[in-house]
């Protein structure tokens, strides 16, 4: 890293500015699949956050030991171990959540956010920074999931926090979901189906871009590193393969 940044910024950038789902467009598949209800969104978000924080810390600790040629398999081994632990815990204590998330829980292994942060950040930053980066990105992921799930569940099935009791009963708290009168009998069914997922995703993403870029700031361009939201943590930046360099070469040709 050329410049030193405060640790607080490593945490806060994941919330909106570099939100993994809405700004970096990583982890789209679990986002679309598990944002149909708030309960599964929270379950998915928390599970992914735990794996992300743990794997970021371990990979950051091992960053000088792992040879760069086999770093991806090494990262996958670390991530897969944590996913297995989380999966076993969920299966044991929250079987309802396990069946709600289905295949998407083990699929956290190949979640782009986790591998992406390992590759782009934890592999070359200190342990505290990687911890905060993982925490911020995880919370950003959970936040994006919850925003989408609130829209999709309330309009698409007319409920909120449906089945939350399965999550809270582990901690000895009884809780119930809310039914929204009027919508529960005539929900806009398309929103909990796949097309509705894409629709809501697009609209929320547009909103996040609006907030992050704001007025007056230039629009992000695909070419060049200047406005790229990944620029701060990009592993290719200042190398021959960077987007800046490619754009220059294209301009020459």
């Amino acid at each position: 890293m050329a410049e030193k940044k405060s640790l607080g910024k490593e945490f806060s950038k994941g919330l909106i500015q570099e939100n993994p789902v809405l700004r970096l467009v990583l982890g789209t598949c679990p986002t679309l699949a598990t944002s149909t209800s708030l309960t599964s969104a929270i379950g998915m978000g928390v599970a992914a956050t735990i794996v992300l924080v743990c794997s970021n810390v371990v990979i950051s600790l091992l960053r000088k030991i792992i040879p760069s040629k086999i770093r991806i398999p090494a990262y996958i081994v670390v991530i897969a171990s944590f996913v297995t632990i989380v999966q076993m815990l969920v299966k044991a204590f929250m079987p309802a959540l396990d069946s709600a998330l289905g295949v998407y829980l083990p699929l956290i292994v190949v979640n782009c956010i986790i591998l992406g942060r390992a590759e782009a950040f934890a592999g070359k930053n200190s342990v505290p920074a990687s911890f905060l980066d993982g925490l911020g990105m995880g919370i950003g992921f959970t936040f994006a999931l919850m925003v989408m799930a609130t829209i999709r569940e309330s309009l698409g099935s007319g409920t909120l926090f449906d089945g939350i009791g399965d999550l809270t009963s582990v901690f000895g708290i009884a809780a119930h979901g809310i039914e929204i009168p009027g919508l529960v009998n005539n929900p806009i069914g398309i929103l909990v189906a796949a097309p509705g997922g894409f629709l809501v995703f697009g609209l929320v993403m547009a909103l996040a871009n609006k907030i992050a870029e704001g007025k007056g700031k230039p629009k992000a361009e695909l070419k060049g590193c200047g406005n790229c939201p990944m620029a701060k943590s990009c592993s290719l930046i200042n190398t021959d393969e960077s987007c800046d360099n490619k754009a220059k070469e294209e301009a020459k040709a």
Binding site: N186, P187, G189, I190, L191, A193, L203
Partner: protein
């Protein structure tokens, strides 16, 4: 100064067509009115109420959305009115009014304005609204009131579309629209009157509707040969469902149909084939809206492959083509 007259010098074009978006859309509205009157007679006055609510919602949605996006106001071009009428024609007359309103808002806000307004929508807004409603409210969208002859009557008895039940009324009844179905799709005669009006006013060209209906006729005839009673089967398939409404008014939308003649044929044949595939092999009884939406999305590709060559340019020889390819590679 010649003979004391001023000479005006201006940039081309010097001769302008009198067609504007507004009067094209007005023609479409006029062409839809026979079907509207027919639906009021067949399904009662509630058909008019549904249409009025749908049109009003579309216009208000367009006005509010343009204000929010800080764009110029476009409600006077009447395109929102057309969308509202077409969407109303695609729903059963006994549907709750708020459901029509959600469909309208979806069509205008998401499909039309989020993509840039008139001329920018990727599929026909009315089709998008209908698919949205069909996927969200499948039961109310597919329980059609049985028509009762005579004005001012409204019968709450619902029936399936002939396509789903497999029991077709007589051909005269189907031409007059005396069957269960969406509000504006049943009366074939009224739709054809609208079609002729649009042709006379040169608002649309006949290629897309005729090719679309023709493709369905040919494929259904072949399917009928397998099933037996080919002619009856074909006629029933043509006259039921939303084929005429879709082919005449929705597939011909300027924004979402190809501009080239060759492209229009490809587009219409594609619509026809997909309609037949969905009706014959799909799990849905009707496939007009899905097939038009699917072909709408393919329009940019169709136009790309059917761009006409400028007149007078020499034909490319094989060697020139090779050289071009190599240049593209390097």
């Amino acid at each position: 100064m010649i003979n004391g007259k001023m000479l005006h010098v201006s940039a081309s074009p010097h001769a302008r067509s009198r067609q504007t978006t507004q009067n094209i859309m007005l023609d479409v509205v006029i062409a839809l009115i026979p079907a509207l009157i027919a639906s009021a007679i067949i399904f009662g006055l509630r058909a008019l109420l549904v249409t009025a609510v749908s049109v009003a919602t579309c216009v208000v949605a367009e006005f509010v959305m343009r204000k929010i996006l800080k764009r110029n106001n476009t409600i006077q071009d009447l395109s929102a009115v057309v969308t509202g009428m077409l969407l109303a024609f695609n729903v059963p007359s006994n549907i709750p009014l708020w459901m029509v309103m959600t469909g309208d808002i979806f069509a205008i806000v998401i499909i039309k304005q989020c993509f840039g307004g008139i001329g920018q929508n990727f599929i026909n807004p009315a089709i998008g609204g209908r698919i949205f409603m069909l996927l969200s409210y499948s039961t109310p969208m597919t329980s059609w009131p049985t028509p009762k002859q005579g004005f001012m009557t409204f019968d709450a008895v619902t029936s399936a579309t002939p396509l789903a039940s497999g029991e077709f009324p007589s051909i005269t009844d189907m031409l007059l629209g005396l069957r269960g179905g969406s509000l504006g799709e049943t009366c074939i005669i009224a739709l054809v009157i609208g079609f002729i009006y649009l042709l006379v006013r040169k608002v649309i060209r006949p290629i897309i509707p005729l090719t679309y209906i023709g493709t369905v006729a040919v494929v259904m005839f072949i399917a009928g040969l397998v099933k037996g009673e080919a002619v009856t089967f074909t006629v029933n398939q043509l006259l039921s469902g939303g084929l005429f409404l879709g082919a005449i008014f929705m597939a011909t939308d300027y924004t979402t149909s190809p501009i080239t003649t060759k492209g229009k044929y490809i587009f219409a044949i594609g619509c026809g084939l997909f309609t037949c595939l969905i009706r014959l092999f799909g799990s849905l009884p009707e496939g007009v809206s899905y097939s038009i939406a699917l072909m709408n999305v393919l329009v940019p590709l169709i136009e790309r492959f059917t761009t006409p060559k400028p007149f007078g340019t020499p034909k490319e020889t094989k060697e020139e083509k090779k050289a071009k390819k190599e240049a593209a590679k390097a």
